[in-house]
Amino acid sequence: MKQDLIYFLPELIVSITVLFLFLLDCFIGKRSRRIFPVIAFIGIAAMMLANKSSSPLPSARFFSDMMVFDHVSVLFKYIFGLAGLIAIVIANGSHELEKVDKANYFTLLTALVLGMMLLANAHHFLMIYLSLEMVSLLSYILTGSLQGSRRSSEASLKYVIYGGVASGIMAYGISILYGLTGSMTLTGVAEFLRMNAVSKTALYTSVLMIMAGFGFKVASVPFHMWCPDVYEGAPTPFTAFLSVGPKAAGFAVLLRFFFGALSQTTTSGIEPIKIIGLPALLGGLSIATMTLGNLAALQQKSMKRLLAYSSIAHAGYMLLALVALNAEAVTGVIFYLSVYLLMNLGAFLVLIIVGDQLGSEDISVFQGLSKRGPFAALLSIVMTVFMFSLTGIPPMAGFIGKFYLFGSVIKSGHYTLAVIGMLNSVVSLYYYIRVVKIMYFDEPVDGRNLTTPMVSHASTVFALALLTIYLGLFWNGLANIVGQAKLF
């Protein structure tokens, strides 16, 4: 048993941090609230160090097959940790969160990171369900953390209801799958399906229902409808995290499910269980997700909703990897998630900086941003970098991510899907570049100049932009690290 704890060390560190923060909350007065983000930051940073030191360990399943440790889980923990760290920096000092109880916010955020880590490493269906619920519940609370804001509470309520239904459907699906295969673990299901034939209808339906739960987390069609409302209603620092963290966790568990439970690794690569036509289903879902996300974003006037739809579209691109079902696809998804983390958080951070000072989150705040003073000019350059990266224009990191992703799809032979993906990229160009255009070519609505925000915000946003460009030019390092990813 003791050896199992070594695998669990990063999660343990975060758990202790969360508990410590809870206790601290009771005994610290109102004035020292500032210590909470610091402790949360240290905790997550310590987790990442522990993660690094545990990365050479061999793959294993621990806690009696409840959880799994492999290189992919190490990578995902890095992603979650980084997302958490940046989210803490963003939230600290955000104007919107001024009235929110800081202790609550950061404690729950750290716990959310813990939940995501558990979700990415879960092997047993119960564990998957449990951690999914943990992530969801904490997200519900944090979405509604702007007390007194009707939109925030409404978003939270919608999230709760939708999430509840989705979890219920997923639980039902899990139970059907258990009934069919007699096993509650991913590898157990895979083994059973390899040996025996089961009712196609039942298997398909159960997979579809389980997809409801995962698809809900990842905001893919047709389980995406909560996304724009929730993203718009939640406080923007949390929306930023929501668009990256839980989505990444959702993809982690999707990867585990489709590569672990529903595929078999043969000598010629990974093959899905042929009988039920999963690629078609997933392909259809991903096309629908991409297309809907991109089309709906075209007409948006609220920047937050635009970014919400854009994140739906990006989830669509990443779903393609599940269709491709090869080792490059895993690499592609993880690589894409890493760069997506950077550029999406960056875009949100710019929105927060601008929105905090100009008081609105419409696209109109970006009008003439480049003319609002020296810092605003720099910020518009940074935003341009992020927008170009999200579209997938070289030499930004987003291009490399899309390249790997589409590359894996082409390698597996699904050329139509790749073409549709690229066409969608073209459509997305419009709404991303529209932001750039109004930043540079329109006049600001009023004459206010932007003042420099907090050092932490400014330096983070520049660091993210520089990283985006750097990874767009020198992506080999990251590609090598991610390329070693092997599931189980």
Partner: protein, 122 residues
């Protein structure tokens, strides 16, 4: 498949029975309305307060906390059952420390609740 037939029959039978009770009482019962009969029932007492009044949230809080700690106690039962065997097979201290850890985590939660004055009634 065959073993599920009785279950289905039971289900149907229950539904039919309940439905029959309702339908029969509606069809066959006398229709004499009176003011008292139409009044709302509140355990024999006079109804107090507006039915549309909202409940104070403290009831909800207490109920929720009760559920949490009740489930914790529920988890104690199977543990207790296995504990004697575990001592005999030499894993006693491990079992014990695991349960203590579980309870400590929940105790921290209790401290938090206490510190945040959630269990104060007024």
């Amino acid at each position: 498949m065959n073993s599920y037939i009785p279950l289905l029959l039971l289900f149907l039978f229950g539904m039919i029975l309940a439905g029959a009770f309702l339908a029969l009482s509606h069809l066959l019962g006398p229709r004499r309305k009176s003011k008292d009969k139409n009044a709302s029932y509140e355990c024999g007492l006079e109804p107090s307060g507006n039915p549309h009044d909202r409940f104070s949230v403290k009831f909800y809080l207490v109920a929720m906390l009760f559920i949490l700690f009740d489930v914790e106690v529920v988890f104690l039962y199977p543990w207790a059952v296995q504990f004697k065997e575990a001592i005999q097979s030499g894993m006693g201290s491990f079992f014990f420390s695991e349960m203590i850890l579980f309870m400590v985590i929940l105790f921290v939660g209790l401290l938090y609740v206490y510190g945040r004055k959630a269990i104060e009634w007024e």
